[in-house]
C-alpha cells in the first residue's frame, strides 16, 4: 500500500518537474538580462545625476581615508564649509575595517562656487589606549572651474604615538 502511494506521489512530482526546467531557465535568463541592463542603466543614471547635481564648475567631492589607524579609530566626523553645509557621519565597525584596509570613503558631493572657501573638520574617536580624542583641521581652499577633490586623511604619527588629520586637495 505504502509503495503505491509513493509511486503515485513520485509520478505526480516527476510530471511537474519535467515541465519546469525549460520554462524556468528561460525565465531565469530573462531575469538575468534585466539585472544586467539595470546595472548598466544604474551607471548611466549615477553619472547623469552627478553631472546634474554638480556641474564641473561647482563640483566638489569630499573623501576620508585612514592610514593604518593604529593610533586613532574614528567614531564620527563633522565637516563645515564656510561655517555651513555640515557633513556629519557616524562610522560602523565594518566601515572602519574597510577604511583600515585602504578604502576611501566618499563623504559627500558638494556644490561650491568659484573662489576661496574655509573648510574645517573635526574627527571624533578613540586612540590606541581607548581614550576619547578629537582631531581638528582647518584650511582655505580655492575652487576653480574644474571639479575639486578634497581628501581628509587621518594618518598615524608613529614617532609621537599619535594621529593627525590633514587636508589635501586636487
Amino acid at each position: 500500500m505504502r509503495f503505491l502511494y509513493t509511486v503515485l506521489l513520485l509520478a505526480v512530482s516527476v510530471s511537474l518537474q519535467a515541465e519546469m526546467p525549460q520554462t524556468s531557465s528561460e525565465v531565469r535568463q530573462k531575469a538575468l538580462t534585466v539585472k544586467q541592463s539595470v546595472l548598466q542603466l544604474n551607471r548611466d543614471l549615477y553619472q547623469l545625476e552627478e553631472d546634474l547635481l554638480s556641474p564641473a564648475t561647482t563640483q566638489t567631492s569630499v573623501f576620508l581615508s585612514l592610514t593604518n589607524g593604529e593610533f586613532f579609530e574614528p567614531y564620527s566626523i563633522n565637516v563645515l564649509v564656510d561655517d555651513r553645509q555640515p557633513i556629519q557621519y557616524l562610522y560602523t565597525e565594518r566601515q572602519v575595517d574597510a577604511l583600515r584596509q585602504g578604502a576611501i570613503q566618499p563623504l559627500k558631493d558638494l556644490n561650491l562656487g568659484p573662489g576661496l572657501h574655509t573648510i574645517r573638520a573635526i574627527a571624533k574617536g578613540v586612540d590606541h589606549n581607548g581614550q576619547a580624542r578629537e582631531l581638528t583641521v582647518e584650511k582655505q581652499i580655492e575652487k576653480h572651474d574644474q571639479p575639486l577633490y578634497i581628501e581628509f586623511k587621518i594618518q598615524d604619527k608613529k614617532e609621537m604615538n599619535s594621529a593627525d588629520l590633514i587636508i589635501s586637495q586636487w
Binding site: L9, L39, L52, A103
Partner: protein
Amino acid sequence: MKFLIFVCCLLIGIPQVNALSSEEEIIRLKKGEYYFYYLTEDYPSAMTRLMQLRNSNALGKELDVMEATMLLSLGLNAQAQEIFEKIKQKGGEPSSKSWFYLARQWFDLGEFSNVVYSLDQIDPLKINLDVQLESKFMKASAYMELGEHSKAQSIIAGMTRDSIWTGYARHNYIIAMMNGNSTGRSLNLLIEDATFYLPETQEAKHLRDRINLISAIYFLELGQNRSAMKYLKLISLEGPYTPAALLQYGWASVEQGNYEKALQPWRELQTRFNLFDPDVMESMLGLPQVFELMKAYTQAIKSYESIEKRLLLMDQFIISTQHEVQDASWLDSWISVQTDLRWGWQSKIDTTLPFSDVSGLLHQMLSEDSMVNGLGEYRDLDIITRYLKEKERDLKLWKGMLQSRKSEAITRNLNPQFEKAERTIVESNSAYDALLKIFNDSSDNIFSLPTIEQRSSLETLSSSTLNLEKLIKLNTATRNVDSYKQRLSRVNGLLLWQMNEMKPKMQWQLQSDLINTKRYISEAKKQLEETKLADKWSVSSWHGLEDRVDDLLLSTSALRNKTEEDRMVVRNRLVLKAQDYLLSQQKRIKDYLAQSRLSIARLYDEALQRRLALGDVSAKEARQ
C-alpha cells in the same frame, strides 16, 4: 653652468610631475571609493564605480575576482562564469576572501569542480576560523559530489569536532555512505559521532534531528527496524522533522507487529500538525489499516468513515481557496511583508507567507527549492520594476527642472545688479581716496584728526574767540577783558596740547582702518568678478544634459516595460505552480478518498461474508 642647467631642468620638470600625480591622486580616490563600497558589501554602488573605473585600468588582477563575486552576488552567474574562466587562464592573485565568496556561490549553484578550484586559492592564514571551517565543509562536500570520498574523509578528520560546519560535513558524508550502500559499523559510529559533538544551538538541534531521521529511514529500507527505532526515538518532538519521524515511527512499529504502538504517534501527528502535510495524510490512512491488522474491523470502518468525511472537507476547502490562489493576492501580501529592499543574493528573503488560509495550504510547497528560487526571482523583478518606475519619475522631474533652469539662465539679466555693485565699489574707492588725503595731510595740520569732543571744544573756542573780539571792540573803563583773554589762551593751549598728544594714536587708527577698507574693497571686486564668471558659466553648465535625460528616460521606460513583462511571466508561473500544487493535493485527497471508500466497501463486504458463513444472515437478505 651645469648647475644652472640642472636647476632649469628641475623647474621644467616640477609642473609635469605635479600634473601627473594630481590625476593619479584622483584615480586613487575613486579606486578607494570603489573599495569602500565593495568592502562594506554595497555591491550595486560598487558595480557602478567599477564600471567607471573599467576604462582607466586603475585596478589590477584583483578586479576580475571582485567583479565575479559581485556579479554572483547579484545573481548574474553567466557573466561571473565568463570572468572566472579568464581568471583561470591568467592565474591572478586576488584576495582569499574574494575566492571564498566565489567558492560559496559556486557551491550554491552546484558547480563543485569550480568550488574546489576556488577554495584551493585561499590562504588559510588570511581568513578567520569560522570562514576556514565553512571552506573545509564546502571542500569536503564538493569532493563527495565529485566521488572523491577519501579526500573528503581526510578533510573532515582535520576539522574541529564541535563545529556546526563539521556536523554538516559529516551529515553529507553519511548520505554519501548510504548512497554507497554502506551498512558496516563505521556508519553507526559516524552517525553517533556526528550527533554527539554538535554544539547546543537550535540549528545544531535541527541538524541532529535530520541526521537521525535520514539514518532511521535508511535502516527502515534495509529492514533493520530496531536500528531505525533507535534513531527515531532520538528525534525531538518540537522540530521541522517531527511529522516525518512520527510517521516513520508508526510504520516501524507496524513492521515489527507492534500495532498499538503505531497508533499513538499517528494520533499525535493528526492532532498537532497541518492536515495537508503529506506525512499527516499518510498517517490518516495508516490508522484504519492498523485497526484491520488488529482485526478491529468495526473500529477500522468507523475510522475510514471519519477519514472520508475529513477528506471531503479538505477537498471543499481547497475548492473554496482556489480563487484566492488564482488572483495571486497571496503573492502581493508576501511582497508587502518583505523588509529588505535590495535585490540579488545579498538580500534577506522571508519565505514565510503571512498567516492565512492560503499560507496553510501552500505551506509544503514553499519549502521546495524551485518555489523559493521562483519567489526570489519574482521579488527581485518586483523591486527592480519599482526602482525603474521611481527613476523614470525622477528623470521626468529632472527634465522639468533643467528646462526651467535653462530658460532662467538664458532670460536672467544680472547686469543692473552688477552695475550697481560696480558703482558702489567706485564710490567706496572715492571715499577711500578722500580719507587717504586726510591721513596724508594730518602730519602738517595739527587740527586734522580731532575727536568728537575735541571738535565740539574747538567750535566752542571759536565762538568764544568771536565773543571776546566783540567785547574788546566794546571795551569800556568799567570792563576789563584781560582775564578772559588769559583764560582763552590757557584753554586754547591745553586743547592744542591734548590734540598733539593724541594725534599719533589717531593717525595709527586711521591708517589701520584705511588698510582694512582697501582689503574689503579688493575682496568685493574679486567677488564681483567671480559672480560674473559664475553667471557666464551657468548657461553652459547645463549644455547637453537635456538630451542625456531624454535618452535615459527612453531607455529606462523600455527597460521598465521589459521588467514588468518578465515580472508578470514569473508571477503567472508562480500562480500556475501553486495551482498545480493544489491540483496535486486534490488528486492525493481523491486517491485517499477512493482508498477509504474502497476499504469501507471491502470491510462491509467482508463483514457480510463472515455473517453469511456464520449463518447470521440468509443469502436472500444479503442480496437485498
